[in-house]
């Protein structure tokens, strides 16, 4: 198989004296959708924040395109194609929808390309176009999630990290968002790392999955195999 585009090797991370990640190792290959599932507090979001350098790895390595990035400043990574849609969406509340999208393209200089991508985002999420002059903080939860994904698209990600895009949203909106995630993956060959509590949804979309428990990877397998695994069905699929 090809070289992994993103790789974690024995990564640990701490919040003060509490160890949040206890040696995570995982591999993500170009173009695939990988999901990380696990209960609340298992370390899923910390894993993504450590990949992006917001949380510092205390041991181990994060590699992106073969290069160690765990010691780099987080703000250089988006320009290299590593982009996250964080937990809670983190829309800039007092920037307008349109300005939030501009921020997604902050590191880009190609004005024409940026304009094309903005049109693309408005095509994917027409409601954002209607509300483009409105402050981001006034949008509904579903609209904010769309804006967060739109903002990430504006950076033309090579690897897109998505943290719980379904959280707190109505089932119909969740379906719409997952459809778009799938189309991003298919049309742009974007590699996707999807963190989810909704394991059923995530495993149906992804090709492979990692199961996290209290800061460690306890299981990794093809998504289909995980869906049929009786332990997983019991612990995460509500059976």
């Amino acid at each position: 198989m090809a070289e992994p585009i993103l790789e974690m090797q024995g990564v640990t991370a701490h919040y003060g004296r509490i160890q949040a990640l206890k040696g995570i190792s995982l591999k993500v290959f170009p173009g695939e959708i990988v999901t990380i599932i696990g209960a609340n507090g298992a370390g899923k979001s910390t894993t993504l924040m450590t990949i992006c350098g917001i949380v510092r790895a205390t041991a181990g390595e994060v590699r992106y395109r073969g290069e160690v990035i765990s010691s780099q400043s987080p703000d250089v990574l988006p320009a290299r194609g590593l982009i996250q849609v964080p937990e809670g969406r983190r829309i800039f509340p007092r920037l307008t929808v349109s300005e939030n999208l501009d921020m997604g393209a902050f590191f880009r200089k190609d004005e024409d390309g940026i304009r094309r991508d903005r049109d693309l985002v408005f095509e994917l999420f027409p409601v954002l176009k209607e509300r483009r002059r409105q402050p981001g903080g006034t949008l509904s939860g579903g609209e904010q999630q769309m804006l967060a994904i739109g903002r990430a698209i504006m950076g033309r990600p090579t690897v897109l990290l998505l943290d719980e895009p379904s959280l707190g949203l109505a089932p119909l909106i969740v379906q719409q968002i997952f459809r778009i995630v799938k189309s991003i993956s298919e049309e742009n060959k974007t590699t996707i790392v999807l963190v989810e509590q909704n394991a059923n949804l995530a495993l149906n979309l992804a090709s492979r999955g990692y199961v996290l428990e209290t800061g460690s990877v306890v299981l990794e397998d093809d998504a289909r195999a995980l869906l049929e695994n009786p332990d997983i069905r019991k612990a995460y699929l509500g059976e």
Partner: protein
């Protein structure tokens, strides 16, 4: 009635100076939640660099021939100098404390203020330094209300600077990045914004505006002194709080209100002129007591730029 209009003109002139001065407090607070006690020293440093440059040009005879060009030149030079001074102060005294408690940074700011003020005293002396003001004498008479050239200069320059600042913050890419950084530093890093650079820029802009205010005060009152940053600094801070600390439009508005109240109180309150400094502080206390979010502020925990 003419008396009132006269005071009104005086009020917005002083208010413009406070507005320029207050912006530095509010912008820095908006981005790193620090009350920058050293901000008044950039105002004082501006007043001094301005007079030094103007005197130098005067000694070479340029003030006699091209006074306005000299003023523009000294303004640009002074704003640049103070912007760099502020960036250095931020790098030395605040940046290393980025992850410490807010109290540590506040104390560091207080220390920086004392250090800079004493530095100014040691190098420039304790006595007033006179500004060359011959070229700003004279004025217009509009139906009994007198507007001096000096006032026109202050109002014009304030309007231009406020306009440029607004355009910068609300229209440009870097201005959007400043507001984004003020609202969410983690997310701004996740879209590729280098927050250290943005913070540095915020200090530079705030200090540049304070420096311009310092020169104008020097010209207006004809002299500067090493401790000139203190009392006007607290008033400008009161203006920032009144407008809603962290809010740029609020600081402008607060500056004009404080300036106007001070002038009107001096004009209409019996013996008001003798304790005109008190009124800004009365407003500060009243705002903190009754309306801690200020005029434009929405939420004390949140930051607004």
């Amino acid at each position: 009635m003419e008396y009132f209009f006269q005071q009104f003109i005086n009020g917005i002139t002083l208010g413009g100076v406070y507005a320029l001065f207050a912006l530095g407090y509010t912008m820095v607070y908006g981005i790193i939640q620090l009350i920058n006690f050293a901000h008044g020293e950039f105002f004082a440093a501006g007043g001094y660099v301005g007079v030094i440059v103007l005197s130098f040009l005067g000694a070479h005879g340029y003030m006699g021939t091209h006074p306005w060009l000299c003023l523009a030149f000294s303004l640009v030079l002074t704003m640049g100098y103070c912007a760099m001074l502020a960036m250095a102060v931020e790098k030395i005294a605040y940046k290393p404390l980025r992850r410490s408690t807010r109290l540590s940074v506040l104390l560091s700011a207080l220390g920086m203020s004392i250090f800079l003020q004493n530095g100014l005293m040691l190098t420039q002396g304790v006595y007033d330094k006179a500004y060359p003001t011959a070229f700003v004498q004279g004025g217009l008479d509009i139906g009994g209300v007198r507007i001096s050239i000096m006032q026109l200069l202050i109002l014009g320059l304030t309007a231009v600077l406020l306009f440029i600042l607004n355009a910068l913050v609300f229209r440009t890419r870097i201005g959007k990045a400043m507001r984004a950084t003020a609202q969410d530093k983690v997310m701004s890093a996740l879209v590729g914004i280098n927050s250290n650079r943005i913070i540095s820029l915020t200090f530079a802009i705030g200090a540049g505006l304070a420096a311009a205010a310092g020169i104008m005060v020097g010209l207006y009152y004809g002299a500067v002194r090493y401790d000139m940053g203190f009392v006007p600094g607290v008033k400008a801070f009161a203006a920032a709080v009144l407008g809603g600390i962290g809010n740029i439009t609020g600081a402008m508005l607060g500056g004009f209100i404080i300036g106007m109240v001070e002038i009107m109180a001096a004009a209409y309150v019996p013996h008001g002129g003798e304790y005109k400094d008190v009124f800004a502080f009365i407003i500060l206390i009243a705002v903190l007591y009754f309306m801690p979010t200020g005029i434009m502020g929405e939420n004390v925990d949140d930051t607004r730029v």
